[in-house]
């Protein structure tokens, strides 16, 4: 009888702990659900390839009014020649800049040269950012990924 009481108490405690745990998890799930209902996320990826190219290109990135966060990630690689990337914000102020180049007769023939740029801004001003891609007899590619939370 005494053992049965102990066993029942133990089982009840386990059930109670289990119920409490599930209810907490349910709350966390609901709150993340409500977050995703009130926000919109936009991800855009653009890729530009070039071969023995020296033609400059300008890529525009629109930031919509009400954007809460804006991330820009640029990855570039050259197998030959040179590549300059310049990043301008909506006020035409230069926010980033890098150059990569590779010579064919370099010691590491199988290597490429890569350049990456990352920027994250909270509450960005609406407008147009620009990425200037300036190849110099370059063979390679550029990937521009932007992520916006509205």
């Amino acid at each position: 009888m005494h053992m049965n009481n102990k066993l029942i108490t133990y089982i009840l405690m386990v059930i109670a702990i289990t119920l409490i745990t599930f209810s907490v998890n349910a709350q966390v799930k609901v709150s993340s659900g409500s977050n995703s209902d009130s926000e919109s996320n936009f991800e855009l990826t653009r890729s530009i390839s070039f071969e023995n190219d020296s033609k400059s290109r300008e890529i525009s990135i629109d930031i919509q009014p009400g954007t809460k966060r804006f991330d820009v990630n640029i990855k570039s690689r050259v197998l030959q020649g040179g590549l300059t990337l310049e990043i301008y914000d909506e006020n035409n102020k230069k926010r980033g800049f890098f150059k990569i180049r590779r010579q064919i007769d370099s010691e590491f023939d199988s290597e490429v040269t890569t350049g990456n740029f990352n920027k994250s801004i909270t509450d960005p001003s609406p407008g147009e950012w620009k990425v200037m891609i300036i190849p110099a007899k370059a063979t390679g590619e550029v990937f521009i990924k932007t992520y916006s939370i509205l």
């Binding site: 690689r77 980033g96 150059k99 990456n116 920027k119 909270t122």
Partner: protein, 329 residues
């Protein structure tokens, strides 16, 4: 047992004193990075010829490489570096990425800038931060501490600005620019000053304070330095100032000539006033082109007297002939 103990103690002693011995050798760049397994265990050093090349990556810029051991320690022999201070960059690469990679911004930022000569003894200790070089400390190196202070100031301001509303972001950026220019103006090290200028918003500075850059270049004029030359080339003094000087010169010359001629005219007027009464009367006749005979008959005086007066007039007015009197205004 004793020999094993002896070997162990010797090993420990070498391990402890290795740092002390190496630290005293000039021409060494050493340090420790805290890397996770996603990073390759090779570190590279590149020479940066101008500040415009800070973010240029190319295999021909890499001048040395070494291995990072399992504890994160690395060491470069930099005794072959030139004697004057130059700018260098050390970088690491992600596993699977090219050795020649530059990552700017984000948690995987993979490089660090520093100043060095062939006699430098540089020690770097990286803290546990988001990126390998984020929390770096230069031990016993005031030059690189000042230099690195600029990097951390810019990154801190950028971090604050990135998470701020527009007005606050603009305020932070404006204050950062002011601080960098103040640093450039007050430091006694040219490379630190140049780095501060490079990291500032140069276009805004040129608009608001056009005299800053020419004054800066003038201040460091006696320091032949390729980094300074590159800055001067990138921001030549506007030709407009020279044009004004070119225009001002002939104007000044004209004024001086006019002044001079004016004074000449005045002195002749004064000289005429100083003629005697008779000389003035004869001067008036000479201006009309009268001959000595005509003057003699006009004033009822001898011709020789007229000649004497004419000679005196010419002498007082510093003129050579009667024709000069006729042409005198």
């Amino acid at each position: 047992m004793k020999s094993l103990l002896f070997k162990l103690l010797t090993g420990v002693a070498i391990f402890i004193f290795h740092g002390r011995i190496s630290a005293s050798e000039p021409g060494t760049l050493r340090g420790r990075l805290l890397l996770d397994s996603s990073w390759d265990q090779t570190i590279y050093i590149s020479h940066i010829p101008t500040f415009d090349d800070l973010y240029t990556m190319s295999s021909d810029m890499i001048i040395s490489r070494t291995t990072i051991d399992s504890l994160g320690y690395f060491e470069f022999d930099i005794s072959f570096f030139p004697d004057d201070i130059n700018l260098y960059r050390i970088h690491i690469s992600k596993k699977g990425d090219s050795a020649h990679s530059i990552i700017i911004g984000g948690k995987d930022e993979n490089h660090l800038f520093l100043l060095a000569t062939g006699n430098s003894n540089i020690e770097i200790e990286a803290g546990k931060g988001n990126s390998p070089f984020r929390l770096v400390r230069f031990a016993n190196d005031s030059l690189n501490r000042s230099f690195h202070h600029i990097t951390t100031t810019v990154k801190t301001a950028d971090s604050i600005a990135s998470v701020s509303e527009t007005a606050k972001r603009q305020f932070v950026e404006r204050k950062l620019n002011e601080e960098l220019l103040l640093l450039a103006d007050s430091t006694d090290n040219l490379m630190v000053a140049l780095y501060a200028i490079y990291k500032s918003d140069t276009d805004a500075t040129l608009r608001k304070n056009p005299a800053f850059l020419p004054d800066f270049l003038q201040r460091w004029n006696n320091n032949p330095n390729p980094y300074l030359t590159a800055l001067a080339r990138a921001h030549p003094i506007p030709q407009q100032n020279n044009k004004y000087w070119l225009m001002a010169f002939p104007i000044a010359l004209a004024i001086l000539l006019g002044f001079g001629l004016g004074r000449l005219k005045i002195s002749k007027k004064d000289a005429v006033k100083n003629l005697s009464v008779q000389e003035k009367r004869i001067f008036e006749q000479l201006k009309k082109g009268a001959s000595n005979q005509e003057i003699s008959e006009e004033f009822n005086i001898g011709v020789s007297t007229v000649k004497s007066h004419v000679s005196s007039i010419l002498s007082k007015l510093n003129l050579k002939s009667r024709k000069d009197i006729i042409h005198l205004n």
